[in-house]
Symmetry: C2
DNA sequence: TTTAAAATATGATATTTGTCATAGTTTAAG
DNA sequence: CTTAAACTATGACAAATATCATATTTTAAA
């Protein structure tokens, strides 16, 4: 039986601000789940009723647009918490979460976390700090979406994934996304992504092997206009 | 000398969760300022070192894009707080604030607010809730930017301003923005805004009088494709 | 392994949006 | 009230991106 107190993952998120006693309580009420690749974790409009702590794997947070396309708003990985926003705002979630790889998560029920948010100001300040950081990142995304070309946004998405999630031994991006997923990050048509990736290949900025992508020239990709 | 305890504006923001004693303390350390239309309140990269409570007027929060254009990320009005994010994250602000009308604001120094964030969990939860709401709105903006046409985004910007800030007696939008400001909300060229507004006029969706805009057909504007 | 389904690739073309040029209008300073 | 500066307006054209069609490759199921 896993134990929050000794869980390494906790170091990377706000749960590190909980006291020993609080962690023991959380440990007792949490449930662990394995989630398969492609599986929906929660859907837009649902009551999430708690917080997920990601022990292993990667998932995408998406929002359905009026035109029927999904927009990927954030990628969530090992160490991250998920679900705090709707927890705090007491509303149904505005995002869907879908696993992009096999995942291990722990689910902590709402009222247990709320106890700590109300009683432990270190913890609530830590959550507040993470949310302020998310908001800052969201500002950057808004500016990029509004002001940059599809080409630039794709280059940045690749660099972001490289920087944030790293590469395998062969230098391939560790996060493997379909062209459609990239389209849903960048906000464009799948064909446009395919076209631009082909161009990047011709320009020796990247190489691909099936769905896997390897960035060959980080600097040049950063200079894309 | 104005007094936070009796200030009506407080009802609209997180300061309503402060106790009587805390309000009296805040009242004693705050400074009131008048800000002229067009004046910069703080600039991207500055240390804000406190929180602004807007007593009167409207301002825009902008972020400079790599291509040299400003992006308007949020409009802040009477009743709103401004500066919480950088306060909490202990970083310089990522946004600039510029008055769009004559403004009355109160400035509360950082360490006074931090005391309350640490000591009053009702207050910190309230701030947290507001930030979660901002984040949810940011998600919507990202999806709109990514998936909708310039035309649709402009229609939505007009509707948003109508809904959020209301109209004058003559039915004109109360917030008066230049075409360039609209371009910086929507993320497009100023000429595109001018063109689309002209089209909206031809289609009897709006009328204009100088910079003032009046929405004539709310429903049709909402149906813009 | 075979085969159907899904994903990727690419061409042709339409649509949207950006850029540059220039003219008219409004606003605010003197 | 006058006038320069700022803003709004519109045309012509270029560039970026979307859409539709179709071929090829990859993936995963039988």
């Amino acid at each position: 039986m896993s134990n929050c107190e000794q869980c390494i993952v906790r170091q990377f998120n706000s749960l590190k601000s909980l006291t020993k006693d609080e962690l023991i309580r959380i440990s007792g009420c949490k449930t662990s789940k394995t989630i398969k690749k492609g599986q929906l974790i929660f859907d837009e409009g649902e009551n999430v009723n708690g917080v997920y702590c990601i022990r292993e794997g990667i998932c995408k947070l998406t929002k359905l647009s009026a035109n029927g396309r999904d927009q990927i708003v954030k990628l969530v990985v090992k160490g991250d918490l998920m679900g705090q926003r709707s927890l705090v705002s007491e509303e149904v979630t505005n995002l869907s979460a879908t696993a992009l790889s096999e995942m291990e998560v722990c689910f902590i029920p709402k009222h247990e976390i709320m106890k700590d948010l109300q009683g432990n100001s270190n913890f609530s300040l830590d959550v507040l700090q993470h949310m302020a950081k998310d908001l800052r990142e969201a500002d950057n995304v808004i500016v990029n979406m509004a002001q940059k070309s599809v080409r630039q946004r794709l280059a940045e998405a690749l660099l972001y994934i490289h920087r944030t999630f790293g590469t395998t031994d062969e230098g391939m991006l560790r996060v493997i996304l379909s062209r459609e997923d990239y389209a849903n990050i960048v906000g464009t048509a799948t064909e446009s992504i395919i076209r631009i990736l082909s161009q990047f290949k011709k320009d020796d900025l990247i190489t691909t092997k099936g769905k896997q992508i390897k960035i060959e020239d980080l600097e040049a990709l950063g200079r894309i206009e």
